[in-house]
Amino acid sequence: MVTVIDYGMSNLRSVVKGFENVGVKVCLTSDKRVAAAADKLVLPGQGAFSDCMKNLRDLDLVDVIKNHIHSGKPYLGICIGLQLLFTESEEFELTKGLDIIKGRVVKFPEEEFARMETKLKIPHMGWNSLDIKKDTPLLKGIADGTYFYFVHSFYVKPEDESVTAATTNYGIDFTSMVSFDNVFACQFHPEKSRSEGLKILKNFGSLTLHQI
């Protein structure tokens, strides 16, 4: 069973249905006590970074998530759920994140993109491929170069690049997935990435402690 945190920042139906489709039971909660008791925590999310942090704070979930990660239990972040792990984000004004991973969330270089021969649009929206950098149980059964669905204007820049499990090229190479110890997170939406995406949800759902 996985526990998906509902903090009012995204449509969770697809995430829940995605897990269920591959036989993983889901508990959806915004209650900090329920989240604190979770074995596996999933933090999805869309929208503005600062709104997400505010909602997590209002629901008293910040420490719950930090404690969960520090206790060594599996965590899966999706989209903003990846970005929130970082020290801070440049979205609107500099906003502090959960600071699990040292580094910053920054915007794609708009002006540089506009000057390119084939101008790149922001948000980075659509299907793009993974360049897998290291082995992670979440990418089990997924070939290098597999396409996933992205929608985002900001990307993460970890100080320690060894946390990066995969990168994706959009004008620049950026970290599209992190994986270390019990922490897994992806910038793309596995719940919108057809059967390959569901594989990631399944891999997370069936993680055993000796794998991490």
Binding site: G18, P123, Y147, K192
Partner: protein, 285 residues
Amino acid sequence: MLAVIIIPCLDVKDGRVVKGINFVGLKDAGDPVEVAKLYDEQGADELTFLDITASHEKRDIIIDVVKHTAEQVFMPLTVGGGIRNLDDIRILLKAGADKVSINTAAIYDPDFVREASFKFGAQCIVVAVDARRLTSPLTKDEIYAMAQENIKGGYPDVLLEEEDTKGKGAACEVFTHGGRNPTGIYAVKWAKKMEELGAGEILLTSMDRDGTKIGFDCELTSKISDKLTIPIIASGGVGTLEHFYDGFKKGRADAALAASVFHYKEFTIRQVKDYLKERGVRVRP
């Protein structure tokens, strides 16, 4: 880099897929969920439902269709047709749609796009622009009369100017109600305005080409694509594999939407992708 996007569109009326399709292997070819699953297997990148149910009282039906589809098909899903207010959007997103496509409501009140984008995020607001080339010049009075009828507040900055209407087939006017009602609005200016107000994508349909199978209106598509920074979905007129290639290369579209060529099995999405790949266009396998 991003792959181009191929979107099959399903016209849904009273919860059933319309158009005389006859898919082998489907238990119920009129069931939108079944058809969506088939397109998923063929490699569709996104799906669009266009709800053509006439009555607003029957909105529960499309919402049910969206719910069932989102339980079984895991890719971006856009729903258009009959969206009038923020509540319509909220309910569709909650049911599992990722984006909504707004057409007439945006023309009646362009601020609706701004509100919807602010509330739900630009990434889920698609503005559908139905455009038709002018066949005869219009006077300023005619243009203003049409605009008064259709747009709240008039929005003079997006209207056709007399000069625009004189060239040979140069200007495209925006139409509502499935291409029936002219508005006096210049399609290129309108698309730009929608981007400024917070649209995340433009679904551009050439009403002249729709159903003709002579190819997308690449001239219009490229004109809008070059002026805007948000993605453009080309629609209307596709009949051959090469038309898809032209839509991306000549029209500079980011995505191509088609209904009948897929419905009538003239070719599969897989065939379109194989063809594009052979010609050097980046597609998701």
